[in-house]
Symmetry: C2
Subunit: 231 residues, 2 copies
């Protein structure tokens, strides 16, 4: 049985949306979304919030998570993902760690559960969440997945897959070894892609992003019968 740990990185000093982790989205603080998602899974997994802030640590403990106190030197803007994840992994033996981000309030329990299934079933070192798209795409000014000589229905286009950082899984041993060798552990070893439905992916970089995510959440909770113009 693989031991899987959930790590939720959270800082208080977010820049473009200040204090976003403790800001309410649709009646619930942002930090509580990943905690609730992780708790909803019936499998027994430790849930740790990785933060430098003592006060946030207290709050997440009340919400049912554990508090991993991140060292001050890994709390700044220049601290990288690989550094604070490595520091976390040194303290917490496991087979796999799942980095679950607070910027994923749209993630559904079912999708999270399938992600955990994927980790259990695979021998991957890195499991990345992606959204698959079939749209005519330009890259460096040139058509990537379509030809200017014909217009075909987009369902027949080759797809692109973009990484969303909602959830990422790493095999602990590989991650630590690569980091210690000075190699990049974030995309380390055997990579497997996990597809996330596009309506569960969002950015939370700007105030506009925040409103969009909030609007999507709100629309999910509403059921209404379509109305039509009379002909």
């Amino acid at each position: 049985m693989k031991k899987i740990i959930i790590m939720i990185p959270a800082r208080l000093g977010s820049k473009r949306i200040p204090k976003k982790n403790i800001r309410y989205m649709q009646g619930k603080p942002l930090i509580q979304y990943p905690i609730d998602i992780a708790k909803s899974d019936s499998r027994d997994m430790e849930i740790w919030v990785n933060t430098e802030d003592e006060r946030l640590g207290t709050i997440v403990t009340d919400m049912g998570a554990n508090f991993h106190r991140r060292p001050k030197e890994l709390a700044g803007d220049t601290a990288t993902n690989r550094d604070f994840t490595y520091e976390f992994l040194r303290m917490h033996p496991c087979d796999y760690v799942v980095m679950l981000n607070t910027t994923s309030p749209l993630l559904r329990q079912e999708t999270f559960g399938q992600f955990i299934d994927k980790i259990i079933d695979s021998d991957a070192d890195t499991i990345l969440s992606v959204v698959t798209e079939k749209e005519e795409t330009f890259y460096q000014g040139e058509p990537l997945n379509f030809s200017l000589n014909e217009k075909i229905n987009s369902q027949f286009l080759p797809s692109t897959q973009k990484i969303v950082w909602a959830m990422t899984g790493w095999k602990r041993d590989t991650f630590m070894r690569l980091q210690e060798q000075g190699e990049n552990p974030v995309f380390g070893g055997k990579i497997v892609l996990f597809e996330v439905p596009k309506d569960e992916a969002c950015d939370l970089d700007t105030e506009e992003d925040w409103k969009i995510a909030e609007g999507i959440l709100q629309s999910r909770s509403e059921t209404h019968t379509p109305k039509y113009l009379e002909l």
Copy 2:
């Protein structure tokens, strides 16, 4: 002075979301969004709804648009964009046509105005709307715009641009000539890309897409003060 005509293609027989053009989204029938956007521009441009349906023709006339009756043979599922646009252009002399889609309720007046500016200022044959993204992207299983050897901040990634069909501009002469030569006029001649803000682009292929767009529209109309968890 360039003569620009707005063409709004609309059928009643949409498949995955039935009758979507006459369905209400946030209190307004979908077909009315592009008509209102086009009417909001102070420049004098004819607005035509291109549809096979007489009843829809009557409705859009009441909304302030003109009714271009599309021939029955161009109204089926196999009729292509290039064919019905060509048929339209034969009947309507102009310098440029803008195809404004009903699947763009999120488009803002300001962005539409900038698109028209771009047509006026440019000598392009085709003006495509794109959304620019900076996300780690895989194409055919390989990293496209990033390297597995390092994790860099996504703001420094080379961007991809995907076409959104919210609005497309074509120079009439070029479009007609290419179509008559059996070449693809949709991506014809000199192509210029026009950037649309990402929160103005949406799909309306599925019921889920519909709810997302409706949620985004709703969130725009609401102003509220952020609330925070107390520390």
